[in-house]
């Protein structure tokens, strides 16, 4: 299983490395860059929700935390964003451990609402931040940037390195590298004894506990690991756009990512990536009727939760199993 996954991953990786040399437009490159970031967040969210069974709605808080942390380190300490990025990632891990300690022993619905409330509190604290933290010339700037967002913390230096024309390539490959690492982590966790332990916990909690499997310890581990990649994604987002705002905490964005995970297939290795791709393409195709976007997303969530709770990956798996069985019975007869 793990070899097959790695092979699939390498094929995708090779295609993604070759693609920019076929001369796509800058718009396409930027959209693909965003795809890498969202797919990273969704694969990590899938580890938390689909594998460890924690219905957290915190991913975008962690993403925002990573972005703001990187930006603040760049702005207030004037360190390079390349140094700020790993620190932001580790900071996000610490932040996620705090959230985890508060909610990992709770039942599903409580986790969902508590993490949503945390996201809302962070959002409110940022947009109501009006106190002067420092003076930028004649204007007053807030600690978090407030409604205007955090800016002027520098970038990754791709403009100097690759020039005005090709600097987006720098972001593209940074995002790709992150997604590759995040996917590798996801494959390892799902196919490793850790993934099996979670499966055991799901299938037979009493037996698993008697085998000394501590649900809480493993959940915290997965929660923290996924926070690391999510925080990095936030940092890279901040570095690319040179401004970090509370719009990353909008509910609509969170639900867009939730749809990616649910439509793709909760709990599987490739489902979340597939879901991210499908939703971004659909979104692109429906640009003309953008006002119906949210209604369509909502409908998609309802339908998948009702009829295909395992997502496209689950449906494909079912078809595959059925074909195999039919093939086997034919061979036998």
């Amino acid at each position: 299983m793990i070899r097959r996954d790695l092979a699939i991953g390498l094929i995708f990786l090779a295609c993604a490395i070759a693609l920019p040399f076929l001369g796509p437009s800058r718009y396409v490159i930027t959209q693909l860059f965003l795809f890498f970031l969202w797919a990273t967040v969704v694969t990590q969210w899938n580890l938390v929700f689909g594998v460890a069974g924690i219905f957290s709605l915190a991913p975008m808080v962690l993403f925002a935390f990573g972005g703001y942390a990187a930006g603040m380190i760049g702005l207030y300490l004037e360190w390079s964003l390349w140094v700020a990025l790993p620190i932001a990632g580790l900071g996000t891990v610490l932040f996620s451990l705090l959230i985890g300690l508060a909610c990992l022993r709770l039942r599903g619905a409580y986790v969902a609402l508590l993490t949503l409330a945390i996201a809302q509190v962070v959002y409110l604290l940022i947009i109501t931040d009006t106190e002067c933290f420092f003076m930028d010339g004649m204007t007053c700037r807030n600690f978090t940037g407030g409604t205007r967002g955090l800016a002027k913390y520098g970038d990754f230096g791709f403009r100097d390195l690759l020039g005005r024309q090709d600097w987006v390539m720098g972001s593209y490959f940074t995002g790709l590298a992150l997604l590759a690492l995040a996917t590798l982590a996801s494959i390892i966790i799902i196919r490793s004894p850790l993934g099996l332990a979670f499966q055991a916990l799901r299938d037979n909690p009493a037996y698993a506990v008697s085998q000394g499997i501590s649900r809480f310890k493993y959940q915290l581990l997965v929660f923290a690991l996924s926070a690391f990649f999510t925080g990095l994604a936030g940092g890279i987002y901040a570095g690319h756009f040179s401004v970090m705002g509370a719009n990353t905490l909008y509910l609509s964005l969170l639900l867009f990512l939730l749809s990616m995970m649910v439509v793709g297939g909760v709990g599987s290795v490739w489902g979340p990536l597939l879901g991210a791709a499908v939703l971004m393409l659909t979104d692109e195709a429906l640009k003309e009727v953008i006002e119906y976007r949210s209604i369509g997303l909502g409908l998609l969530l309802v339908l998948f939760a009702m009829f295909w709770p395992k997502g496209i990956a689950g449906v494909l798996n079912g078809v595959n199993e059925r074909l195999k069985r039919r093939f086997r019975s034919r061979v036998r007869s």
């Binding site: 022993r105 039942r107 508590l114 949210s294 909502g298 998609l300 939760a305 009702m306 009829f307 709770p309």
Partner: protein, 292 residues
């Protein structure tokens, strides 16, 4: 003294708003073990229906409220027959229903946005005027809200505690299998509870929007507030929710007065986290429900 009256009045008003936000969510979550994330959107639709009936159709105020309540009942039933019916007997209902209702909330909110636009309206269902107590102005509308919220809470608690339907709802909540074996038509109970919750949510939406404003996203904040009340009160404990709503209203009013408005919600969240660690079954409840 004025300060005290000021905090008391805004605390009671906030408490009433919490009670209104909580009641429908608590009923469905507590009795069907179903977290309805679309509860906020039901509040919003209730508020808008009353607005539309009174402003566009020229209904008298009271009839506007009745129209909203009726729409709430229909939406609750539609939710059962269109969505919940297909899900509640399957594995993973607890999480799948959260996802489905998140999607539903998104749809309803955006349908409201398309129908009425993002411009905030004033809820016409409101009583004008007020009176002065010491030096604090108290609008009559605040008293109406406090009265209605307490009334709905008490009525729901009575329904659950002292009627045949209430007993059947509690039985379904505590053991679906035993309820079936006692002849309780569990599916019909689900439909009835959702219809009732739609009614309560729609009326709550009218009340809430009468002292704030109507906006397509107005239901989101009450959803989170309702969660906080449910945690403190203990799930499905309607009487406890009434105390919790007013206590927390007072608490938030105090925090807002002394620390600033922006710290009201963060302080509540902190309180909830402490409560979840200290008493995961709710401060007013006996049984453990929140923890695994």
């Amino acid at each position: 003294m004025d300060t005290f009256v000021q905090i008391l009045v805004s605390g009671l008003t906030l408490g009433a708003m919490y009670a209104l936000s909580t009641i429908a969510l608590s009923l469905v979550w507590g009795s069907l073990n179903m977290l309805n994330m679309a509860q906020g959107a039901l509040l919003t639709i209730g508020g808008y229906i009353s607005f539309a009936a009174i402003t566009y159709l020229g209904f008298p105020l009271f009839l506007g409220l009745v129209t909203a309540a009726g729409t709430g009942v229909l939406l609750g039933l539609a939710m059962y027959f269109g969505i919940i019916r297909f899900m509640f007997e399957k594995d993973g209902f607890e999480t799948n229903v959260i996802i489905a209702t998140i999607g539903l909330a998104m749809m309803m909110e955006n349908i409201v946005l398309k129908a009425f636009g993002a411009y905030p309206f004033q809820q016409p269902f409101a009583v004008d005027g007020g009176f002065r107590l010491l030096d604090v102005h108290i609008p009559y509308q605040n008293l109406v809200i406090i009265g209605v919220s307490v009334g709905m809470m008490v009525a729901t608690a009575w329904l659950l505690g002292h009627t045949r339907l209430g007993r059947a709802i509690r039985a379904t909540a505590q053991s679906r299998e035993a309820a079936l074996l006692n002849g309780v038509p569990v599916r019909r109970i689900f439909a009835q509870v959702l219809a009732l919750s739609g009614l309560l949510a729609a009326v709550s939406g009218v009340m809430l929007s009468s002292i704030t404003t109507l906006a397509p996203t107005m239901g989101y904040d009450p959803l989170l507030k309702a969660f906080i009340i449910c945690v403190i009160a203990g799930l499905g404990n309607v009487a406890g929710a009434l105390y919790a709503a007013f206590l927390l209203g007072m608490f938030e009013a105090g925090v807002q007065y002394f620390l600033g408005v922006r710290f009201g919600f963060p302080a509540l969240l902190l309180l909830v986290i402490i409560a979840l660690i200290w008493r995961p079954y709710g401060v007013f409840n006996r049984r453990k429900v929140a923890r695994l």
